[in-house]
Amino acid sequence: METRLGPVASRRSVLLSTAALVIATSPRSTARTIAGALPWDPNGGNPPVAAKLGPWEFFTPEEGRAMEALADRIIPPDPQTPGGKDSGCAVFVDRQLAGAYGAQEGLYVRPPFIAGSKSQGSQSEGGPRKEYREGLAALDRACQVREGGKRFADLADDRKDQILKDLEEGTLRMEGVDGKSFFALAIKDIQTGFLADPIYGGNRDMAAWKMIGYPGARYNYLDWVGRHNEPYPLPPVSMTGRAEWTSNNSGAK
């Protein structure tokens, strides 16, 4: 058990006479004094925050359309496994950008921002929200110039792929944006969403995990560690179990 212990020295004798105590140093402080027993509160943990059903949280409708088109070319659908759009990868990126990742929470963002060597890592001030906002707009503008006024999402698949190949090779210049690095970021985030737990909006119905043979959050392989070169028999589970077991599937948009 824990209690909140006052900052004052004279409380110490009280502290030692009880089984355990925890003392907050001020109303704003999460600092605690812990003595006598391990601290534990019911429901004191920090469960994951699931992506919510509903409209785009970060993207505008036009950006969302471009992202879904992009997701479906980075991970195209095939007869066995859905593509990036239907597996929720654009929703994943949207929720990530709306949340801590987009806000650069926890990162060191103090100035000055000075360009450095590659080995010193990103020194960009803007962060991923700015990169997506500017990158998706620049992609549509570049397509409109090159493809007769059409936005990226409205192109035929082979034209989309050609645009993306040119971006990857750096031959398609986008105004005010490093197209090559924006596309690399989009690949990374979309593929991350495809392979992450479906609670975050991508990998819907564990499509990616079924495809590659990853059994998910199984936690215990004691019975299989010594069974070499034998296919693991169980289908995947996610942190929320299996989609058909629950009525409120996370991540569906």
Partner: protein
Amino acid sequence: MARILPKKDVVIIGLGWTGAVMAQELTDEGLDVIAIERGPWRDAPTDFPPSQMQDELRYRVRHELFLRPDQLTFTFRNKVDQQALPIRNWGAFMPPNGVGGGGVHWNAEMWRFLPSDFVLKTHLTQRYGANFLPADMTIQDWGITYDELEPYYDRFEYLCGTSGTAGNLRGQIMEGGNPFEGARSRDYPTKAQPQPFSHTLFGKAARELGYKPFPQPSGNLSTAYTNPLGLRMGPCTYCGFCEWFGCSNYSKASPQTTILPVLVRKSNFTARDNSEVVKINTDKSGKHATGVTFVDSSGEAWEQPADLVILSAFSVFNAQLMLHSGIGQPYDPATGEGRIGRNFTHQTISSVNGFFDHTKFNFNPFIGSGSIGMCIDEFNGDNFDHGPLGFVGGGYVGQVQTGARPIESALTPSGTPKWGAGWKTAIKDNYLSTVKPGTGVHGSFYAYRDIYLDLDPLYKDRFGRPLMRMTIDIKENEAKQNRFLTDKFAEIIKAMGATSLAKTYRTAPYDSTTYQTTHLNGGVIMGADPKTSAVNRYLQSWDVSNLFVLGASAFPQNAGYNPTLTVGALAYWAADAIRSQYLKNPGPLVDA
């Protein structure tokens, strides 16, 4: 103005592995001990439950259990004449935060260093001559020998329940263990973990090539174990979420599983969490510590007076706090003088991924534990003749794959497109049949005159203090060592039957953005000579005799092994010196 708390016998800065060991030892001695921890209290029932821990995005990709750079980071540069810039997001290493420290989210590899590692300078000079070493290399002997440390290695291994196969039992070489290890006084507390398919195949291939493979010594337990403090650990379930994650199952050795439930119930122990020590205070002479000042999470400052100060933060933060406290002369690479910040080192890591025919090989690579694996030690330390090779140092190599969390482990052979149908088909075909050893080549990192730590002149932390500046690069000696080891390792992966290999050497410049390991060492190094070390052989500050500095900050240079077992053994060694010598007669244990 800091408010002053009642005086304690001992204040411990940082409640990770070494802080927990020291607190347990000194409370046993009857002293009144407080530990002050920068991060939150964490434990399995609340923070690492199985229902949420298998979350690669949250813990691996977004780093949730680690220190966040907005709380504290470093500046970084490769060369002394370069502008250092802040590490804005972690890459090459992952500094810990919170109770348990790195012991929460480590893999739990339990390696002893070689006897020759402790007398490195003497040993290499005798065998190869002084001119064989690069002119700017500043390696040193430790001031302690393997034989002196052996009983403390043993104590930490038994605290943790370590699973392994002995290779050298009291001088007798044992079949199936590491024949190169120093003599151990008794066998491991628990037998080695069973090995999954790819790890077993690596062992077989290595044996056929003439090596002597053995299971990596592991702090993920093969079987249930009750440690000397009466705490019971459970057998590992091979869930594959060890490094970057907390263990849900009380199977991974950590302060939480091996010490804290006993320590925290003692009436003479108190901990404060979410409270960051910002200074070690000294009296007017500068030679005696009077306690510490810390700031809680609301920004309020407190002073905790104490007779004895134990600095047991993560290695580089030890160096930083010494610099911020003005204890010990800062190291100057121009003159080679000064104590604090010298001989900063890391590890020289590379790997080789192997792609196998998926119609013949199914590795079920998601079955793993943090320190599962089969290794060879033929190319570590000075286990091989460096004369014809033109470099010094080495490392173990092994198939030490810890699982196959899919974001990180859906790999494709070279030549595969990075996106599109080709990528999708390739991850489908390769996920179950890829060998991805992680830190497969685990090389030493020796010390150099211009690789060091000091305070940055430009960037500040949230309190307005200078960030610490890291100046570090990969030198030619380490690059040569790595090329040699990586090629040897690739031969074994090839012999396992791989159809293609992806081989990556570690080369200059040192890259702050790609993960190697979190084995940062040095900065407050131990030694026999107060001119070239910050602490004596008992980890006691040369400058302030009631201050002991624990952790890998004491390593004069890094060996080709994971550091934690040596860190734990040194903590027991220092605790023993305090209990048996210092408390009877407080003052310097070694004359400067």
